[in-house]
């Protein structure tokens, strides 16, 4: 493949055509701040935080997230002027933001907080009208507090572009613009799947998961990377563990087959882990009662019964039903057991959960 070379902050960067300035810079280890950017989504260019200077461009400032890198481009990402613009943008955002990082669910995991930290904005120069929306709690899973919304459009876009659901869009214009559902219906009256993708992309605390509220912020939890056990896809997830209990699930960006996306089950279906009804040992029915047993005893019983049935009525008297929650490899082994060991083609799986 052809390569292009450009100069970013004095460093010669070689990249593949089609990459944006932001991506090319990242490849060279240069971090450009962003807010409305999410690698899972199409470029949007709304927050203006990633503006960079490109030599020979009329107006001078271009959004790195949405501008393709080009041969011989000369880009600067961190000039005095750019820092000034970024500061102003952060100040403007904070001038209409409830200053409540103390209790905010997203503190420590908030891109606005990170920007304010990096640019040292404590109190914005500008004061004026602020929004006072009521927090929307119209379902047990997702809470929306649009006072914290920065209008990056990430929720709108992820729901449409990635989920293909399109629950949200913006209503109103200018200062009054706000994302929302059609006619502000409750999420439960929209096609929402409660996948939480919008939660995962929201850079601030405007959209949060209700089940994990108040249960631990990013620095209080241990993140355990694991593979989602719900289906065979193998999405990577991070379990947020506090005091030995899972309090939330997130997905690492651009890692594994899910690339940071996951479905409602992967994200919210962790209640069973600590549930009192959960089986923690095999049970064997004795005199009509299920009693705890060892794996040895339980599997031995299954093997005996299968052998008996096969001997008395032939292999097709037995059927194998596997689970969609097993991996492909496990399901492969399972059908091997049915076909090669027992000798029946009666094998299926519950391709639904």
């Amino acid at each position: 493949m052809k390569h292009i070379s450009l100069t970013i902050d004095g460093i010669e960067v070689i990249t593949t055509p089609g990459r944006t300035i932001l991506e090319a810079a990242a490849e060279a280890g240069i971090r450009i701040p962003t807010l409305c950017y999410d690698p899972r989504l199409e470029p949007y260019g709304s927050c203006r935080v990633c503006l960079v200077e490109v030599e020979g461009q009329g107006r001078g400032f271009l959004p790195a997230c949405a501008t393709p890198a080009d041969e011989d481009m000369v880009v600067r990402t961190d000039t005095e002027k750019l820092r000034g613009i970024r500061r102003t943008i952060i100040e403007l955002l904070l001038s209409d933001h409830p200053n409540d990082c103390m209790t905010c669910e997203s503190a420590g995991n908030c891109e606005l907080q990170d920007l304010a930290y990096e640019y040292g904005v404590r109190k914005p120069r500008f004061q004026g009208e602020q929004h006072h929306h009521e927090a929307i709690v119209d379902n047990p899973i997702i809470e929306r507090d649009y006072n914290k919304c920065v209008l990056c459009g990430r929720c709108v876009r992820i729901c449409r572009e990635v989920q293909g659901v399109g629950v949200y869009d913006f209503a109103n214009r200018g200062f009054e613009a706000v994302p929302g559902t059609p006619y502000n219906r409750p999420l439960t009256e929209t096609p929402c799947e409660f996948c939480g993708q919008c939660v995962s992309t929201c850079p601030t605390g405007a959209i949060v998961s209700i089940p994990s509220k108040g249960k631990g912020r990013s620095w209080q939890v241990r993140k355990v990377r694991t593979t989602c056990a719900y289906c065979g896809c193998g999405c990577q997830i991070d379990l947020h563990v506090r005091d030995g209990r899972i309090v939330d699930v997130s997905s690492p960006l651009m890692v594994g087959p899910g690339e940071g996306n996951h479905c409602a089950k992967g994200r919210y279906g962790y209640g069973f882990v600590h549930h009192s009804d959960r089986l923690t040992t095999p049970l064997v029915r004795k005199e009509g009662e299920l009693v705890p047993a060892t794996w040895e005893e339980a599997l031995g019983l299954v093997a005996d019964r299968i052998s008996k049935a096969v001997k008395e009525q032939g292999p097709d008297s037995v059927a194998f039903l596997a689970s969609a929650r097993c991996t492909n490899e496990e399901n492969y082994l399972f059908q091997k057991l049915a076909r090669a060991v027992v000798g029946t083609n009666n094998v299926d799986h519950c391709a639904r959960l």
Partner: protein, 619 residues
């Protein structure tokens, strides 16, 4: 004759039409533009028709209800072709006399002629009226002479001749060369060279060969109505221009995006499209050339920002009208992801004109870098409001004082705002600059789509900046941070200053915000939104300082900073003010000087408008 199959057919048809129109003894045009409609010109026209019918003269008088003829201040207007008599402010009752004297005869009805406010002289011919005299109406002239609902009028005047020439005598490349050599630049705001834009769209690869042309008729600038008037008055010239453009760039489909507040323009356009299709001038195999091209009309979503080209495209696609970052430009990646060339109504209308005149002739009009004419809507504190078409390079002074007739009631000129809501305010000492794209930008304003608002000495420049900022804050789509929140914060600061609560730090914040918003907004709405503030700060900084330091509004406009007083020497004690005051702030004996209690007064200024002696003033 139904379909016109060849250029020769077109010529023949034209000759037939000319012969047919030549048979009429008289031709009369009544202006049916939006302004005149507000003055009930329809009633004038209907009365005229009734009288003509009653006299059984409909075969000898060719009556036309035309598009806007520009002199909106003076409507309803009537033009009698055979003798060039031009009447203004006609009432239905006057029509009978006009018919008898000036249509059947050659007599002039004196009191219906335009009266020069300068010397009271009555002027018979349109061209001699100062308002028209300095104009060069290349585009608007047709508005007077054709009925927009009748394609025959346009064809008889040479219409679609440029298209026939383009399709049969010229190549796509040549057309682009001509437009480039003519020096045509976009009339929608930015002044981008049209030929260059066409060339980019022509060269851009399309995944399936489909390309589009779009006519931007969103015209959101408050007070601007030239695009509306062109579309209402002469829709075929837009269609012809777009078809030539489609041929030049290789497009097969066009859209006209009209704002939904323009029902008459939509109606005339749809009618014109039908007639053009019927005649074979649009659709499949146009004039037998093999070119297939058709135009759809998309009615706008109602936001100012939908006039921005990427917002407009999103709107046509059925999405929320919000701009997106460019590049990629529409010429490469436009409507439905295909190369798309988008031009303004006035730009498109220039295209047939250029082919007809030839690039070199056309390029003789205007300045070195700005060619042709530009239509301005001249409004505000000016004697002659209306649509004016002037050659580029004319000075602002000529427009304001000669065409516009100066400032009413002998007031002093203070500033003229050009370029729509986000243009700049140009002060008196710059009145002699030539109007072209570069010069307007140098002084901090812009051409925009041609709004021109004149302000007199009673205008507060801080209040004006606040007013435009309010419009832009309201119209910001909300997508990008600097525009959404920056305009809001600027508006709040300006309001504070107008309310007498401004500080010097506010002024600094205003200036720094303005610079950052300009540099960082996504589209030109935000990018140009600080212009009114920046230019008023540049030229009228003392007014800001008066508001901040001395808590005074020198123009006597900002309510919080003024006191109304009655001059006891002038007041006759007639009591008119006392009666109208809604809060009973005025007291005084009959025939004795009255006075206003500043504690009670809400500064609504109703009393000022009522006082027959002009005894009430602000301070």
């Amino acid at each position: 004759m139904a379909r016109i199959e060849t250029p020769a057919d077109l010529e023949q048809y034209r000759l037939q039409l000319r012969e047919k129109f030549g048979k009429y003894q008289y031709a009369v045009s009544v202006c049916g533009g939006t302004g005149c409609r507000a003055y009930d010109c329809i009633n004038v026209f209907e009365t005229l028709r009734e009288i003509i019918d009653k006299k059984d003269m409909s075969h000898t008088v060719n009556l036309r209800l035309t598009g806007c003829q520009g002199f909106c201040e003076m409507g309803p207007l009537m033009f009698i072709h055979k003798n060039g008599i031009f009447y203004v402010r006609i009432s239905p009752e006057a029509v009978e006399r006009i018919v008898e004297s000036s249509i059947l005869g050659d007599e002039v009805v004196e009191e219906l002629l335009y009266k020069s406010p300068a010397d009271g002289r009555r002027i018979v011919h349109q061209q001699e009226i100062p308002f028209y005299n300095k104009q060069r109406r290349f585009l608007l002239a047709m508005n007077r002479d054709i009925d927009p609902l009748n394609i025959d009028d346009y064809i008889a005047k040479g219409g679609y001749g440029s298209l026939a020439w383009a399709l049969f005598e010229s190549s796509s490349e040549e057309i682009i060369d001509i437009i480039e050599r003519a020096g045509l630049r976009g009339r929608g705001g930015a002044g981008f060279p049209t030929g260059r834009k066409w060339r980019i769209a022509r060269q851009a690869p399309s995944p399936d060969g489909i390309k589009y042309v779009i006519c931007n008729a969103d015209e959101g600038d408050p007070g601007a109505y030239m695009d509306r008037s062109l579309l209402e008055g002469n829709p075929h010239q837009v269609i012809e221009g777009m078809t030539i453009g489609a041929y030049a760039i290789g497009a097969s489909e066009g859209y006209v995006y009209v704002r939904h507040e323009y029902p008459l323009a939509v109606h005339h356009l749809l009618e014109a499209l039908d007639q053009a299709r019927e005649k074979g001038l649009l659709g499949k195999n146009i004039l037998g050339s093999g070119l297939d091209f058709d135009i759809k009309v998309s009615v706008g979503g109602g936001a100012f920002v939908c006039g921005e080209e990427t917002g407009l495209i999103a709107s046509i696609e059925g999405k929320r009208g919000m701009p997106r970052p460019r590049p990629p430009y529409p010429a490469n990646y436009g409507l439905w992801g295909r190369p798309t060339n988008i031009n303004n109504v006035e730009t498109w209308q220039n295209v047939p004109l250029i082919l007809q005149m030839g690039a070199d002739e056309y390029a003789k009009i205007g300045t070195e870098k700005s060619k042709g004419t530009k239509i301005f809507s001249l409004v505000g504190k000016i004697n002659n409001t209306g649509l004016v078409e002037v050659p580029m390079g004319i000075t602002l002074r000529e427009i304001v004082y000669e065409i516009g007739g100066g400032i009413p009631r002998g007031k002093a000129f203070k500033a003229v705002q050009t370029g729509g809501p986000s243009g700049g305010c140009i002060p008196a000492h710059l009145l002699d600059i030539p109007v072209d794209f570069e010069r307007l930008q140098e002084v901090g304003s812009m051409m925009g789509s041609g709004g021109m608002i004149v302000m007199d000495e009673n205008t507060c420049m801080v209040d004006i900046a606040r007013y435009f900022m309010e419009f832009l804050t309201h119209e910001s789509c909300g997508k990008c941070v600097p525009c959404r929140l920056g305009t809001k914060r600027m508006l709040e600061i300006l309001t504070k200053i107008c309310d007498g609560q401004g500080t010097n730090e506010n002024l600094e914040a205003l200036e720094s915000l303005a610079a950052d918003i300009k540099a960082s907004s996504l589209c030109a709405l935000g990018g140009t939104s600080p212009n009114p503030v920046l230019t008023t700060l540049r030229y009228f900084r003392d007014e800001y300082e008066e508001h901040i330091v001395n808590k005074r509004c020198p123009a006597g406009i900002c309510q919080a900073l003024i006191t109304l007083r009655i001059d006891p020497d002038t007041c006759t004690g007639c009591g008119a003010c006392l009666k109208i005051c809604p809060v009973e702030a005025i007291s005084g004996e009959k025939k004795q000087p009255h006075s206003i209690d500043p504690e009670v007064c809400i500064r609504c200024k109703l009393c000022i408008s009522r006082c027959p002696k002009e005894a009430i003033y602000t301070e």
